[in-house]
């Protein structure tokens, strides 16, 4: 999970601050050292880390924290705010030209993911009613043109190419003309991967830039990049004046410190992130959410959005009603499981929930097979049994176990769990009732 280990580290570091009455400068120093190490391990550039630590320390050791009642919380807040501001305050979108076509130039090192990203971007913007044209300017790498053509075909976007014998600058110019004639309002130019120190190829990029005047120049960066990310981003920015960054392979487990570094040295926003190999897995980047996530506060917004997409609102209402009226059955349980599966891999969802930190997740190891088993058991019950589990006697249990390919103890366990869940739900609704009556929580310590 993105930034998972970083949030784990910060939780460790800041956990020491939590629960203390007052903070000394020494405490802050100690915590900051661990924050620093965590950031460094996450491949955030050293200079960026240094500045970050200095800023946070300045704010933390000041009276602001010392006089507040919960210093730990205050430090968490400061670290979060600084981290958010480091990554850009809010999400940044692509700028479209007022006089179409909008020209987007993709650039970056070899293997960063330019061609795939170009295809994803075309796919994404096509859904926003643009008419994109992909342009194959990588004349060097074997089969690069073919790759873009295949990608273009998959997302149903035309690809302009002139083979590998033409100058990329000429191809780009011709492509823009072609786009204008054919009513394409968005032209995405894929270029060859190049090292930032390769003068000839950097000149070529500059040539393309001068030739077609792109509205957006996007630097594609692998999120696994180490300390060198800063050098790369600085050079590309100096030569071309990039307008934004696309961070790829963020579905890996790299901590992605490069994101922070690049943002900090170039001042250019991260506009998109690549979250998978499929061509619809390009997302906009939410710096605020990411910062919260680093601090172990969970990517709540993402979870809510995802849940909204997958959960059937009507079904949820019905469920709520049933829970209230104590009519929750195995059928409803099955429904719930189905909807949960729509959300995606369980451990991924759990990772987004605040309070569930990555360390706990490691031991948890959600077993999707267990869920398949539960499903099999429920599906082996008759309708009657699902509605009223209390009628399930030992011979029925035996039958269910046989039908689902499980054992009687496993069936027993599920039945017991279900009973307990029901009990728990009853307690919740009871609490709610008393709350309504008394106007406050019916818990002993309130």
């Amino acid at each position: 999970m993105v930034f998972e280990s970083l949030s784990e580290k910060l939780q460790n570091a800041l956990g020491k601050l939590k629960g203390r009455g007052k903070l000394t400068e020494k405490d802050v120093d100690l915590a900051m050292r661990e924050v620093k190490l965590a950031l460094l391990e996450a491949d955030v550039n050293f200079k960026v880390v240094k500045k970050f630590i200095k800023d946070v320390k300045e704010r933390a050791v000041g009276s602001e924290v010392m006089e507040s009642l919960t210093p730990g919380q205050q430090v968490v807040k400061i670290v979060n705010e600084e981290l958010t501001s480091l990554m850009g305050e809010k999400e940044s979108k692509l700028e479209f030209s007022s006089t179409p076509p909008t020209v987007v130039l993709m650039c970056g090192l070899q293997g960063a993911g330019k061609t795939t990203t170009a295809g994803k971007l075309a796919n994404l913007l096509k859904k926003q009613n643009k008419r994109p044209l992909l342009v194959a300017c990588d004349v060097y790498r074997p089969a690069a043109i073919k790759q873009l053509q295949v990608v273009g075909e998959k997302v149903d976007v035309p690809v302009f190419s002139m083979g590998d014998k033409n100058n990329p600058v000429d191809i780009a110019k011709a492509a823009v003309e072609h786009g204008k004639r054919n009513g394409n309002d968005l032209i995405i130019i894929d270029t060859a991967g190049r090292l930032h120190i390769d003068e000839n190829l950097m000149d070529e990029l500059e040539g393309i830039k001068n030739g077609v005047n792109p509205n957006e120049i996007l630097l594609v960066v692998d999120s696994m990049t180490g300390q060198d990310a800063v050098t790369v981003a600085e050079t590309f920015n100096d030569r071309l004046g990039i307008t934004g960054v696309v961070l790829t392979k963020l579905d890996g487990d790299a901590r992605g410190g490069a994101a922070l570094s690049i943002r900090s040295v170039t001042g250019k926003p991260i506009k998109y992130v690549g979250m998978g190999e499929k061509l619809d897995e390009l997302r906009s980047f939410h710096p605020d959410r990411m910062a919260s996530r680093i601090l172990g506060m969970g990517d709540v917004l993402s979870l809510i959005e995802k849940a909204e997409e997958s959960f059937d609102a009507k079904k949820a209402m019905e469920l709520e009603k049933k829970i209230r009226s104590q009519q929750f059955t195995f059928d409803d349980f099955l429904d719930q499981l189905d909807q949960m599966k729509n959300l995606g891999p369980l451990d991924q969802i759990l990772g987004m929930i605040p309070g569930v930190n990555s360390k706990q997740l490691k031991n948890l190891n959600v077993d999707e097979k267990e869920i398949v088993k539960i499903e099999a058991i429920i599906k082996s019950m008759t309708k009657e049994e699902r509605n009223d589990p209390s009628i399930i006697n030992s011979s029925r249990r035996k039958r269910i176990a046989q039908g689902s390919g499980t054992s009687v103890p496993e069936v027993n366990r599920l039945l017991k769990q279900f009973k307990e869940t029901k009990k728990m739900m009853k307690r919740f609704t009871d609490v709610e009732k008393t709350m309504k009556k008394k106007g406050k929580l019916g818990l002993p310590f309130f």
Binding site: L37, L40, E41, A42, D43, N45, F46, K50, L109, Q110, G111, A112, G113, T115, V139, Y140, R141, P142, A143, A144, K146, Q147, L148, Q149, V150, V151, K154, D164, K165, N167, L195, H196, I197, N200, L201, D222, M224, T225, G226, Q227, D228, A229, T231, V232, T248, K249, D251, G252, D253, A254, R255, G257, A258, E277
Partner: protein
Amino acid sequence: MFKFFKKSKKNEDENIKEDIQKEEVEEENKYEEGLEEKELDKSDESNNGSEIEGKKEDFFTKLKKGLSKTRQGVTEKIDSILKSYGKIDDDLFDELEEVLITADVGVNTTMEVIDNLKKQAKEQKIKEANDIRELLKEEIEGTLKKVEDSKIDRKLNIDPSPAIILVVGVNGAGKTTTIGKMAWNLKQEGKKVLIAAGDTFRAAAIEQLEEWANRADVNLVAHKEGADPAAVIYDGIQAAKARKSDVLICDTAGRLHNKKNLMNELNKIFRVVEREYPEASKEVLLVVDATTGQNAILQAKVFKEVCDITGVVLTKLDGTAKGGVVIALQSELNVPVKLIGVGEGIDDLQPFDTKSFIEALIG
């Protein structure tokens, strides 16, 4: 019966691929033309020996230049830090820490070095910053020596023939390119090389490998995009046996190591290799981009579990990345770096030499 039928059909496919390679001469010309615009000195790829040797030197100089950048980085920085501090204090150690970390040496290794240094300085009652220089050098050398002394065999494990090389790694590390270069190198050594196009996922990956096979003038076994990669490798092994190839190089699709299904798929491929080709010498190479930061260690760990990697290829070392991750890779995982990629040309794959790497790093 059925199995036989399936196989013969696949053999037909192979024949088609081989036909494609007959257009080799034409393809090569195309390739050279493409390169002319890029860089003149790269255009003569496959001519006579003397020219290649001359070029190899160029690449060595290139590499040395690249690495000497690293050296200036580390030693000069250390010198200037030591000069600017009179007495030893915590800030001094912080700055020394920075120097090592910015070379991607890794936080763990760096902390080890610095902690040892602090301890030593205290024990020997060193107060002057200047006196710490030798100590620091010893510490760094000690760490690197661990890498050097661990009796690591950096030769590819491809003797005796037949041999199989499985190439794995995350997306965009440079697997396909490395295979092309490796095939060319092995062919120059007089080996009979066969390539199996196991990346059936990425768009045009097979075409890319075909082009490299043409350049290196070796045969290729391939299925269509979307085919089962384990089946491709299976066919590759059968073909290698039938044709008595010395080395079979297997490409695989790039995969992030935290994708369980893809890693399972890789494990299946690995098992096919173990089962179908037990007599072959085995080499499983993990390709790592030199610009990769600390994630490289995680990558190596997981890939090692899944397919027992026996070596690492560090690519894109011709950039400004310091490749300090090598140290972490070797000291933490004991996986030797065997080859390094230093450019886009077909002969830009070199053996990794620890001594010159260390020399270049600390001088």
